[in-house]
Each structure stands twice: as C-alpha cells, then as structure tokens.
C-alpha cells in the first residue's frame, strides 16, 4: 500500500506534475509517446487515490462536525435543564448518525496523530451566522478540555451531551479499515460497500469547482454540507486540467466501490488523452 506518510499535498503536487507532463507531451517532437503517457497516467491514478482518500477524510470530518452541530443545536433548542427525557434518544441518534458516517467513510486521518483537521473548516463553521449562538461558548468549552490545537468534534460532543458518545476517536478507528484501494484487503470490503452510497455525494463538491461531467447517480446529499470547504487545491488541479484542454470524464464521476474505481477510473481517466493518441 502506498505509505500513509505520503500526504495529500504530495498527491496534489504529483497530480499537477503529471498533468503538466501530459500537456507538454502533446507538443514534443516526434509526437505523443504512448508508453510514457501511460506510465504518467498510472502515477496520476495513484496520486488521485491518495488525494481522494484525504478529501474523504476531510469531508467526513466536516460532515461529522456538521451533524454534531445539528444535534447540538437541536438539543440546545430544548430547555437545557430538561434533557433527561430526550437525552437518551438524541444521544442514540447522534451515535447512530456517527456510526453510519464512520462506517461509510471507513477511514479517518485522525488515527494519524500528527494530522490536524484543517482549522479553517472549524473556523468557518463557527464564524458563520449560526442559529446557535452558543457555538462560541461551545468552542471555548471544548478548547479547555481538549488539546487546543485540535478542532475535534469528539471534544465537542463530550461537552455538549456530557456523555461519552460513540463518536470517539477509538470508535472511529475501529471502523477505520484502511480504505486504501491499493491494499484492497478484506477489511475494506464492508466499508467500501457503504461508501458506495456516499461517494457521489462527496464528488459533487469537487464538481462544483471543476467542469467535469456530472455523476450519473446522486445519493441523498442532505447530510452533506460542503459550502465552506476550501477547494483551492482542487481548483488548481481543475485549472491545470482545463489548460490541458480535455476532460477526464469519469475521472471523478463514477459511482462505484473504491476497488472498482481503481480499475474503472484509471481506464476512464485515460479516456481523454488516449482518444487523442488513437488518432496517431
């Protein structure tokens, strides 16, 4: 499996470099070199898998936070002192929610201790005109009981419900079979299946930024809130793609298991430029 030490930043730069190589090859003397471009496409595929894995993780974190915030808001709307009756139920809902989400994504970078969620996600969520003004209080409270550098929904949940919920690091990790498609281990099977439903959901945000072909099927997206996600890097890549001048139709739009993505996506990703090459 590709080492988890190679972070999304490496993957992004590799994607950029690879696209530039493919672009430059079109003007090279002697015509497009099929062999070299095929090898570059493999690097592109590999980097893309790592990149998407990282994006999944970020989206998952974002989604988790949003869900928790929603639950918190609902709870806060009730009489804060009168939680006994609803607590258990809400707590169960939150837990179930979290369980589904974690199972769906199956992998979180949280197990990598050095990884921090992008602070801007957290900041943007907190700074938006929130229906729950006590979000800030929330934040303040949470920071006191957690490592302040970590904007971690786990901590938020602890403070809010005063109960240890199922959305804990430990729980997340349990369901975190490595979703690295290259491993394709047994453990990846069930999370992958659940991931299938959510996949196009996550893809949609990337499509917002790029001009790729839309996904054929869309799962329900109500749970996903991506408006604040910073996709600068994705836009850079999409700029490069538009410079390259041909779409990678299907590169990000197929709804499939991640293992299927390995095969189908790499094939789909070759589509645009191989069509050009076929002409030769």
């Amino acid at each position: 499996m590709i080492s988890t030490m190679e972070c999304a930043a490496d993957a992004q730069s590799l994607i950029s470099i690879s696209l530039m190589k493919i672009h430059n090859s079109r003007t090279q003397r002697g015509g497009i070199k099929l062999h070299k471009n095929l090898l570059v496409s493999y690097v592109l595929r590999n980097a893309r898998q790592v990149y998407i894995k990282e994006k999944y993780a970020e989206i998952y974190r974002m989604q988790q936070y949003e869900e928790v915030m929603t639950v918190c808001n609902e709870i806060q709307e009730l009489n804060p002192l009168d939680l006994d009756a609803e607590d258990a139920e809400d707590e169960e809902q939150a837990a179930a929610h979290a369980r589904t989400s974690s199972a769906i994504f199956g992998c979180s970078p949280l197990d990598d201790g050095s990884k921090e969620p992008d602070p801007c996600y957290y900041r943007s969520c907190c700074m938006e005109p929130s229906p729950v003004p006590h979000c800030d209080q929330f934040t303040a409270n949470s920071s006191s009981s957690s490592s302040s550098s970590h904007c971690n929904k786990t901590t938020v949940l602890d403070l809010d419900t005063h109960v240890v919920t199922t959305v804990e690091n430990g729980y997340l990790h349990q369901d975190c079979c490595c979703c690295d498609a290259l491993q394709c281990g047994q453990g990846a099977r069930s999370p992958a299946r659940k991931r299938k439903v959510e996949f196009s959901c996550c893809v949609s945000d990337v499509e917002d930024v790029s001009d790729f072909t839309a996904a054929r099927k869309r799962a329900k997206r109500e749970d996903c809130c991506y408006s604040n996600i910073d996709y600068t890097d994705t836009s850079n890549i999409s700029n490069l793609i538009s410079i390259f001048g041909s779409g990678f139709s299907g590169l990000l739009s197929r709804q499939a298991d991640l293992e299927q993505i390995c095969s189908k996506q790499v094939l789909a990703s070759l589509g645009a430029w191989t069509r050009a090459i076929v002409a030769f």
Binding site: S3, G30, K33, H35, V43, N46, A47, L267, A268, G271
Partner: protein, 445 residues
C-alpha cells in the same frame, strides 16, 4: 574468461566523440551494437547518423597491445520527416541497429527510427576501373571523332573506400513508435516492434509484413500496457519474446498460430507489496530484454534492477541484481526531472557469465553470475589515459560517506549510460555516455 571482480580489471582503451561539455543534441548516442564477429562496432545517434568503427586486425595478436577501433564508415541513415496527415514530425533518431550475419564480402545492418526500418549494405571498394574508351578520366564523354583506338579498361588499386547504400526501406507498417528490431536466426526474416504491435518481415520484401502480435484494445480507453522490447530466440527461429510496461515477458511460438496474441509462456514476478509507491508501475516497466547467447536464459532490465530468467521457469527470475537500489527513495525527484523514464539497456558477455548495464553519473555495472560479484565502474575523461585501469566506484546510500565514495545526492543524473555492448568473443566493451563512446578492454597481464 574471468569475472569482473578481483580476477579481472578493466582498462581504458579509447574514447570517441567530441570533448567539449556542450553537447549537441544530434550527437547524442542512441544505440550501440557489435557485429557477430566483433570486428565492427556501430553507433546510431539522435541526428539519424550511423558511425561504424572497425577493429584493426594487424595488432590483434600482440599481447600487450589490443587492437583499436577506428572509424570505418559514416552515413546519414534517417532524415527527419513530417507526417502531413497527422501533423506529426517523425524524429530521425536511430532507435536500434542490428547487424545481419555476414554472407559475402559486404556487411549488412538494419537501422530504424520511430517509423521506418532500412537495410544498409556496407561494402568496400579498393579498385577502380581505368581506361574507358568513351569517357575521360573525369567522366566527361569524349568526342567520338577523336577516338582512334580501342582498349580494354583495367582495374587499378585505389585507396580503400567504404560505401554505405540503402538496399531496402521498410516503411508504413507501424502506427506507433518502433522500439525494437531483431533478426531471426533463419537469416531471412526479422521482426519490428512498436508500442502495440509486432510485425514480421522478409528481408527481401518491403511492401508487405505480417502482423504477429497485436495488443491494441478495441477501445483505447482500456489500454493498460504497451510493448517495450522484443527479440527473436538466438537459435529457435519460431520463438520470440516481448516485454511489456507492466513488467511481464511473453514468449511466443510462431508455429502455434499466425497471430501470436496468446503467449506460450508468461514470465512474471509478483510485486512486493511492501515496496508499493506512486511509481510502482513505472519502475516495473521493462526497458530491455535480451536472450543469452546459449538461448537458455533471458535478461530483463527495469528501472532499478536486472533479472535473469530461466526460460523453463515462468514464476520468477532465477537471479535478480540491484543496479542502483539507492534511487528507490528518490523516485519522486526522478519523476519530476523525467529520469525515471530513462530506458536502460543490458547485455551479456560472450559466454553468458557476466551481464552489464548502465546507470547514472556515467557509472556502469557488471554482475558476475557465477562468482556472485558485482562492480561499478565509471566512464569519464578523467580516467582516460591509455591502458589506465578503472577503479571500482561505490555509491554511499546513507550514513557516513567513506573516502572515495560518492553520495547519492552528488550523482549527476544528466550523465547517464543507457547503451552498452559487449564484444561477442573478447572482453571488450563499448559504453556510450551522452555523446561519447568509450571502449574498455580487460587488462592483459
């Protein structure tokens, strides 16, 4: 023959090519090949030229002085062309040269660029006719009225002239870039391979070729591998192999069917999952495949290693030699500067006991199969005094660098040895740096 380790030492013999560091692109050597006797050594370059060196025979028997290779013939084999239909320029770079076994006084070789293969006849002329009745010495026709007598023209000696003339041009058979040519042991046919197809030719017939391998998928979007090299078996005229970008080698028998898409044998080593990286597919792509002279083994070169395969065992190679394993941690940088796409060749010595391949920093490596020894040598102008013994070099992969070792970060990746050739009988090797050809020979004690 002794091995490359302590028993044998290699000495500088000659260097051919320009001295200055400013390398003209046309002078970059793109292929090197000895003929079947080793008397002739051909090089091709990016400018489409072929230069043939000939070994001086006279001094060959003197123990302390090995014969030198001197320029025998130079000719322009291929010119740049333009495909108007596809708006593509076709490079004149010579991708491969292959000698035909000698049948008469003349020598024949095949040279190919990306699209066209040519058969060249190299012949000597050391006599010229003199005494024509109707022509002057300079070729002008005489006034018939001035002719008063008849004489028989005679052949008189002249300075040796080597002529190269194109005898056959095999064109328009390859859609993709030709990467290999290989002459069959039947001495009548040869194959040419491009990225997706292999064609079989008769040396006499230029307007037809048989397609014997076609791996082009119906839908190009499903393309997953290309052909990287192909070669005929040295003795079995029905057998050939081709390697792929996925690290597999297929052995095909032309007797089985006309189209050899279904291989007779598939040689493949499972990938080590612990070595997986972004670049696994690139470094497993085979850049060269060569049969041993005895026909029992074949050697493949991928980016980091050389593998020897027994033709009777498909599951894994019988020997694997790491050429420059210290580069494994540098693959990302090598990808950025395109070095990871370099296609290194490899070669056997005359009795298949030693294999050789090139590396960076003008280093080349030899692996003695029998003695399990390997050595790294350098082709450089600094070590080019006559008969100077080459000192083994060592690359320091990490930790404290010892004296005389060179660290990985100091390697010059612009100085690469992609093409090497070994004399078929003697311990004489030709090593091509970017634009120079070095000839080394073993030290005669």
């Amino acid at each position: 023959m002794a091995g490359p380790g302590g028993d044998m030492q290699w000495c500088f013999s000659q260097v051919k090519g320009a001295i200055d560091d400013d390398v003209a692109e046309a002078d970059i050597i793109s292929t090197v090949e000895f003929n079947h006797t080793g008397e002739l050594l051909a090089t091709g370059d990016k400018g489409g030229r072929v230069v043939i060196f000939q070994q001086e025979i006279e001094n060959k028997n003197l123990p302390q002085f090995r014969s030198e290779y001197n320029v025998y013939s130079t000719f322009q084999s291929h010119e740049p062309e333009f495909d108007y239909l596809k708006s593509l320029e076709i490079e004149e770079k010579i991708n491969k040269i292959r000698w035909l076994p000698q049948k008469n006084a003349a020598q024949f070789l095949l040279s190919t660029n990306d699209k066209t293969i040519k058969l060249w006849k190299i012949s000597e002329r050391d006599k010229r006719p003199e005494g024509y009745n109707l022509k002057e010495e300079d070729g002008r026709y005489k006034d018939p009225n001035s002719i008063t007598s008849l004489r028989v023209p005679v052949l008189i000696p002249m300075d040796l002239m080597v002529e190269a003339s194109p005898r056959r041009v095999f064109a328009n058979a390859h859609t993709y870039h030709i990467n290999s040519i290989s002459v069959n042991s039947d001495e009548e046919t040869y194959l040419s391979a491009d990225d997706l197809r292999i064609n079989l030719w008769n040396l006499e017939i230029t307007d037809r070729s048989f397609n014997i391998v076609d791996i082009k998928p119906a839908n190009m979007e499903e393309l997953t591998e290309v052909i990287t090299a192909a070669e005929f078996h040295p003795h079995q005229c029905n057998t050939f192999v081709y390697s792929s970008s996925k690290g597999t080698i297929r052995l095909c028998d032309m007797r089985a069917s006309a189209l050899c898409d279904k291989q007779s044998k598939l040689f493949e080593e499972p990938e080590d999952p612990s070595n997986r990286s972004f670049f696994s597919e690139i470094i497993s792509s085979i850049s060269d495949v060569k049969f041993s002279h005895n026909g029992r083994y074949m050697m493949t070169r991928d980016y980091l290693s050389v593998k020897i395969w027994d033709l009777n065992m498909e599951s894994r190679p019988v020997e694997t030699y790491q050429v420059h394993e210290y580069l494994r941690s540098k693959l990302c940088s090598l990808y950025e500067n395109d070095c990871i796409f370099d296609k290194f060749e490899c070669c056997w010595n005359g009795n298949d006991s030693v294999v050789m391949t090139g590396s960076y920093n003008n280093f080349f490596r030899m692996f003695d199969r029998g003695q399990r020894r390997d050595v790294t040598l350098e082709a450089s102008r600094e070590n080019s005094k006559p008969m100077q013994v080459l000192k083994p070099r060592k690359v320091c992969a990490g930790g404290k660098r010892k004296k005389d070792e060179i660290s990985v970060d100091s390697l010059d990746f612009n100085k690469k040895i992609l093409h090497t050739a070994w004399h078929p009988q003697d311990n004489i090797i030709a090593v091509a740096t970017t634009n120079n050809l070095y000839i080394f020979q073993d030290k005669v004690n």
